[in-house]
């Protein structure tokens, strides 16, 4: 079988490597600066998908594969997208029935973990 293999200049690996660090750092910053709401999860998802894309495309050599393979591997997960969307709708519904029929508190506040409380207190002093 003709296997030329996947040989590519090392430079590109280093580049992607670096890029992954930078993207991870950015997504870390999202948390560090306590961004909230839509902006927060938009950024998280964008950084996540970028990282995933680079790993699959470059490190796993997907970019250089023939489209027959790319197509064969990337289309089936569409079923998962359907599952995810439907389950999101379903969960939303289940949650609303719980809130409506069982009188649960719709937006409860979580407790902070003990070590966190401690360090917050120290800051306060």
């Amino acid at each position: 079988m003709a296997t030329e293999g996947q040989q590519h200049p090392i430079k590109i690996y280093f580049l992607i490597w670096l890029l992954l660090f930078v993207l991870s750092f950015f997504s870390y910053l999202v948390d560090f600066y306590h961004l909230e709401g839509n902006l927060r999860w938009f950024l998280i998802v964008v950084f996540m998908l970028l990282k995933a894309g680079f790993i699959v495309a470059i490190f796993m050599h997907m970019k250089w594969e023939r489209f027959a393979l790319i197509f064969g591997i990337l289309t089936p997960p569409l079923a998962l997208v359907v599952l995810m969307f439907l389950m999101a709708i379903e969960s939303d519904y289940a949650w609303s029935t719980r809130v409506v029929y069982m009188g649960e508190d719709p937006a409860p506040k979580p407790e902070s973990p003990s070590h966190y409380k401690k360090s917050e207190e120290e800051k306060g002093h």
Binding site: W17, S27, K51, M87, S112
Partner: protein
């Protein structure tokens, strides 16, 4: 008989149609093991996604409060609480290991066996240290924070009990993949220097790499969904 010279000018549609309608092989030039690994990873993607969908459902349906991840996973360094420090280091390690793995693949195709060996070994060591840090993280959560798979230790109630359950299950399953990967890497590395693959093109290194990068890929999603979200 088919001529497999691959013209680069072909559109992807023509080339795909041609590959899928050709005889003998559908993925031209792809060794058996690599095709099999890709399909296995596809199957594994379904496993992890089902786990993550379970996580989504849990988080969306519970009416108790969901603990704030950045507080729970914060590390106190010299009295200052730094959010996600340990996780940042673990991510750093895993990405680094992906880099060394990619280099190993490259060296493999240059037939530099010892380079392959050392790079794969480095990858395995980084993977093992990742697992070690995960153990540390788990023990901290269990002992200090009182988070248990079934809920919370007394006096530690942070809200929904599903938080710990799903966290330990998914990171545990990922950790299992990393551990298996470490063993797999070491085995292949040793077999490479022993000359077991000399008659091949060392695609085994690439196949191992596929698995390893996949584990890294899963971590990208876990990092975003469990620690940041």
């Amino acid at each position: 008989m088919t001529d497999t010279t691959l013209s680069t000018q072909e559109s992807i549609f023509t080339s795909t149609a041609r590959d899928w309608s050709s005889d003998m092989t559908t993925f031209k030039g792809v060794p058996w093991g690599k095709a099999m690994m890709w399909i296995f990873l596809l199957s594994d993607t379904f496993i992890f996604t089902c786990f993550l969908v379970g996580y989504m459902v849990m988080r969306m349906t519970v009416t108790e409060a969901w603990p704030v991840a950045s507080e729970v996973f914060a590390l106190t360094v010299w009295g200052v609480s730094v959010p996600l420090l340990l996780i940042a280091i673990m991510t750093f390690i895993l990405i680094t290991s992906s880099g060394t793995m990619a280099m190993a693949v490259n060296m493999g195709y240059q037939r530099r066996k010892w380079a392959v060996f050392w790079l794969m070994l480095a990858t395995a060591l980084l993977g093992a240290s990742f697992v070690g840090m995960q153990c540390y993280e788990w023990s901290k959560l269990i002992i200090d924070e009182g988070i248990r798979p079934w809920g919370y230790a007394p006096d530690h109630d942070l809200g929904a009990p599903q938080f710990g359950s799903i966290f330990f299950m998914v990171t545990g399953f990922h950790g299992l993949h990393v551990s298996v990967g470490v063993i797999y890497l070491i085995t292949v590395a040793i077999r490479v220097v022993r000359g077991k693959y000399d008659h091949t093109n060392f695609e085994i290194v690439e196949i191992t790499g596929l698995y390893w990068h996949f584990v890294d890929l899963v971590w990208v999603f876990i990092f975003a969904f469990f620690y940041l979200w």
